[in-house]
């Protein structure tokens, strides 16, 4: 305890120098925690987005995930209502949404384009997607359309522009049926949407499951998307479903989230490398400060050694000074990170669209206790280590030489 008290006093000896080092440690820690917090926010967002796009757990007929279909709905799921009802009774489940994948052509009479679409449950799909689906024009699909009315369609923004379609425009969807024949239905544009990825917005068509089934002439669905209340339950629910199903296959959102995994791997490397460099800079700053203090206090080191302090005790005292600087700096850095997080939120700072996307997203820093703890511990440990390294030679220097130091 006394040693720590002396370390604090020694750090205050050259206040200006200590403050600069402390500031470097604080800024370094803030940079690491801000970068880390941003990466964590990005991971969370991408995870949520991926899970909302596909569902946390995806259930399909056997072979659906492993083979390409030779004709539409070859691996379709037919007996899904009982499974859906069973899943909906599970308290962990938020929604179970059927999906019908389709592809074909879309035409406005003058022009046709390739479409990639989904038949979705209008009552649940848009509620689950929430902020991850941007409606640019009109509205989402009507949950319960009037019988006999023209089926509704949602178009991706770029596809709508290409088709010169607006809300109320009439279009024709054409696709190959499950029997291999060509079928077409007329639809009315109910809205224009964007998922933020131009390549998707150029082809995207969303219709009700019933509309997709009537286009493909089937009563099957492609898959069931199970949305959970807590993403952390994904593996547990998937495992239970795998145990249940001899007739269906199960995947999790992670199995389908290639973009999430790629971004995570990229960010881990970028932020990991930058973090390591920043922490090393902090360690060098502490080393420099302690090395200067060691030179200035050489005679004092000699005195303490003469009085009976072992070199190890001298080094420990300097390491404690490094620890004090590291601890104060890193705690201040964490406070700066929290301040930055609040500040970015208040100012509404936006990040530019990432590659392959058309819309930006808010700059948010996750305040993560584990990230803070590890960063603080790392900065403290490296600061103490740098101080130890800076002082170990001086502590072992001959006492007579140290006492004669001017």
């Amino acid at each position: 305890m006394k040693a720590l008290l002396y370390a604090i006093k020694n750090v205050q000896r050259n206040r200006r120098r200590s403050l600069i080092t402390l500031a470097i440690a604080a800024v370094g820690t803030a940079a690491v925690t801000i970068g880390g917090g941003f990466a964590l926010y990005t991971y969370d967002s991408l995870r949520e987005q991926a899970a909302r796009d596909s569902g946390h757990v995806i259930v399909a007929a056997r072979g659906y995930f492993d083979h390409d279909e030779e004709k539409p709905m070859q691996y379709g799921l037919s007996d899904y209502p009982s499974l859906r009802n069973r899943l909906l009774r599970d308290e962990r489940v938020r929604a179970v949404l059927p999906k019908v994948q389709l592809s074909g052509l879309i035409s406005n009479g003058d022009k046709s384009a390739v479409m990639i679409g989904s038949g979705v449950d209008p009552a649940g799909e848009f509620h689950v997607k929430g902020p991850f689906l941007k409606v640019l024009e009109g509205d989402v699909l009507t949950p319960h359309p009037e019988p006999g009315s023209t089926p509704e369609v949602l178009l991706g923004a770029d596809l709508a522009r290409s088709m010169n379609a607006h809300v109320g425009s009439g279009l024709t969807l054409m696709a190959t049926t499950t029997e291999g024949t060509l079928n077409a239905i007329d639809v009315t544009v109910n809205g224009v949407i964007s998922v933020g990825v131009p390549e998707v917005d150029k082809r995207l068509v969303l219709v009700a499951v019933a509309t997709a089934q009537s286009l493909l002439l089937t009563d099957k669905i492609s898959s069931l998307a199970v949305h959970l209340k807590d993403t952390g339950q994904t593996e547990a629910v998937a495992a239970e479903l795998r145990d249940l199903g001899a007739t269906f296959s199960v995947q999790t959102w992670q199995d389908q989230a290639f973009f999430y995994e790629a971004v995570r791997a990229l960010y881990n490397r970028i932020f990991g490398l930058l973090g390591a460099i920043i922490v090393l800079i902090v360690a060098f700053a502490v080393f420099n400060t302690i090395a200067m203090a060691v030179v200035e206090r050489t005679r004092e080191i000699g005195t303490l050694r003469a009085l009976g302090a072992l070199p190890m005790q001298i080094v420990r005292d300097f390491a404690l000074e490094g620890l004090v600087i590291g601890a104060a700096g890193s705690i201040l850095g964490v406070a700066l990170c929290a301040l930055a997080s609040v500040g970015f939120g208040l100012l509404g700072v936006q990040m530019p669209p990432p590659p392959g996307r058309s819309v930006g997203y808010p700059l948010h820093i996750n305040l993560n206790a584990i990230l803070f703890l590890w960063t603080v511990l790392l900065v403290i440990a490296l600061s103490a280590l740098a101080a130890w390294f800076a002082s170990r030679k001086a502590a072992a220097r001959p006492i007579v030489e140290a006492l004669a130091h001017v």
Partner: protein, 265 residues
Amino acid sequence: MNARSCLADGVALAEAQRAAPAPVIALTEVHKSYGSGAARVAALRGVSLDVRQGELVALQGPSGSGKSTLLNLCGLLSEPDEGRVQLDGADATGWSMRAQTLARREKIGFVFQSFNLVPVMSVFENIEYPLLLSGVDRARRREQVERMLARLGLEQLGLRRPDEISGGQRQRVAIGRALIKRPRLVIADEPTANLDSATATQIIDLMHEAVEQDGASFLIATHDPAMAGRCTRVVCIHDGSLVSDRSGMPAPGAPPRAGASGARP
């Protein structure tokens, strides 16, 4: 002090010392050189010296005569090239650095010309430091330091830092730090050089008191005739050799030495 006058005063003490207790520190035929090759300088040439319990030994000689080297060897701060150093009867030559450090911690105190107090520590903490190194518990440390502060007349200054007190007070703190562990030997290098004569007298009084109360021995390098005059023994060194060893004033509370002092063989 000049070597000639030391020589003139030299009388052997061997007889008297034969009857005295075992020396606290004993140097036997010690050689010490610095540098190498043509630049090699012999600082000590076959010096033998012992300091017994309760002695206040003044070490005198011109600059470069080997005083500091001799003090360093006696304080186990460096090792001789040849010869033997014994502390309390144990041969300290060749001890490991750790053993030397522990021996200094328990048995040797140091008083430096420039006080060498730790500036961030208070007066109390400076005196307390050797006790901390020895692992003395907090209550005993407090009690011992307070007693030492009272003895030094510094009761009111315990919380002050070294730069907030006078030079004389600083040297008293340094002496307190040296004595707090009741060492067998105190090595003092020009302890009164930076002090006025009145303060120097107080410092010398303190040393006498330490000899009386604690039975400590002092080996003091000094140019100060007043200080040397109040030591029980005055040793002169010149060009790395002891040239005289004479008794001064009697040790406090001790019977006068037998015979006159002089150069030792």
